[in-house]
């Protein structure tokens, strides 16, 4: 990696920390948001411009095309949405971030398929890839469900004994992931089964939770997206992703607890209680 890019990542990382700090105080919050946005822009432009590989113009074109298309979509949605619909929009955006992490994981796993034994990624690398896929998938479907619920387009779904079902599914998911790492599998079938199972788990995880508790769940899923970003950061040895992701991960988790406290609820009762339909409405907005 070029030294200039490393310096840019360093600057971006500092802007994330300063930005988050400023976001925590009413007087400086707007400035804080701008500072982090600036740092993010620097990191993105730097990554594209300061690469040392020989890049074909087609790929450059595709990257810039993707950024222009996505940037316009994101900007238009953000500007058009009504004030009252903002929390659900945050959830939708968060789901996109999770999907991005899971796609990165899939591409990296595919690189491992059909290569010679000596070139295969180590078990440690495979576990980071698989964690990115699992966490990215859970946040993707989970955030979409949260978005749909706040939207009013989805009702609470409570299977009988849903807590038991969810926890068992989660354990199976973990065991399956460990199994893939241990046998050093490069089968794309196994990874797609894992992908689908994680997507289903994300759905089932959020589906029983009542609408009033959704902000807490969105904050939790947001924290998870940060962790997924950090994991992909480890994969590429990329500091800005690692630190940015972990900051969101830990800050998001603390924020989740703070939101629970503001609602007089425990995180466990939000996730496993699933009765937040009516009674918590009054206190949740605070």
């Amino acid at each position: 990696m070029s030294i200039y890019l490393s310096i840019i990542y360093l600057i971006a990382t500092v802007t994330f920390i300063v930005g988050l700090k400023n976001l925590g105080h009413p007087a400086t919050a707007k400035k804080g948001n701008l500072i982090s946005a600036l740092g993010m822009g620097l990191a993105i432009v730097g990554t594209i411009v300061l690469t040392e590989n020989e890049i074909s113009p087609i790929i450059y074109g595709l990257i810039i095309g993707a950024i222009v298309v996505g940037g316009i979509i994101g900007w238009v949605i953000a500007m058009k949405v009504e004030m009252t619909k903002m929390p659900e929009l945050v959830s939708l955006f968060n789901g996109f971030g999770g999907a991005s992490a899971l796609l990165i994981g899939l591409v990296e796993f595919n690189k491992n398929i059909g290569v010679a034994e000596a070139d295969k990624a180590s078990a440690a690398i495979i576990s980071t890839i698989i964690s990115a896929i699992i966490i990215g998938s859970i946040t993707f479907t989970g955030s979409l469900v949260a978005w749909a619920k706040l939207n009013g387009s989805m009702k609470d779904l409570r299977l009988p004994k849903y807590n038991l079902i969810n926890n068992i599914l989660f354990l199976i998911l973990l065991a399956f992931a460990v199994y893939i790492v241990l046998i050093g599998s490069d089968s794309s079938l196994l990874i797609y089964v894992l992908l689908v199972a994680s997507l289903v788990y994300g759905y089932l995880f959020v589906a029983p939770i009542g609408g009033a508790d959704m902000p807490v769940v969105i904050s939790l899923l947001n924290s998870l997206t940060g962790i997924a970003a950090a994991i992909t950061g480890i994969l590429y040895g990329n500091m800005v992703m690692l630190v940015g992701g972990i900051l969101v991960g830990s800050a998001g988790l603390i924020l989740t607890f703070a939101m629970c406290k503001a609602m007089n609820r425990s995180l466990a009762s939000v996730i496993f209680g699933a009765f937040g339909g009516a009674e918590a409405v009054g206190t949740s907005t605070g």
């Binding site: 940037g71 991005s100 796609l103 947001n222 992909t232 690692l242 900051l247 969101v248």
Partner: protein, 102 residues
């Protein structure tokens, strides 16, 4: 198991940074006023869009002939940048509203 110990010893610096960053994140958010919870969540969400850097790296590293990797990378970049741009823009709008009320 040996592989994991090897991984840890090779990435010791990374692990130090990881642990320090966890504590910074906790300290930054401690004692935030309740009114700022939602904008803060939105701002943190925009930050988690940093995953787009990885999506760009995926595209930069892929072979121009590898359509699957390029396609997935393209979608990852689009979704990531929506998260970033949309996230920061929505946070800004929220804070604007917040200022007017004061």
């Amino acid at each position: 198991m040996n592989q994991f110990i090897e991984f840890i010893s090779q990435n010791l610096e990374l692990i130090y940074i990881l642990i320090l960053a966890i504590f910074i994140g906790v300290e930054l958010i401690k004692n935030v006023p309740t009114v700022l919870h939602t904008p803060l969540m939105s701002g943190a969400n925009a930050l988690s869009g940093v995953v787009i850097v990885g999506a760009i790296i995926v595209m930069l590293q892929s072979d121009p002939e590898n359509y699957l990797a390029l396609g997935l990378g393209f979608v990852a970049v689009v979704l990531g940048i929506i998260n970033v741009v949309g996230g920061f823009a929505v946070t800004d709008r929220m804070l604007q509203m917040f200022k007017k009320k004061k």
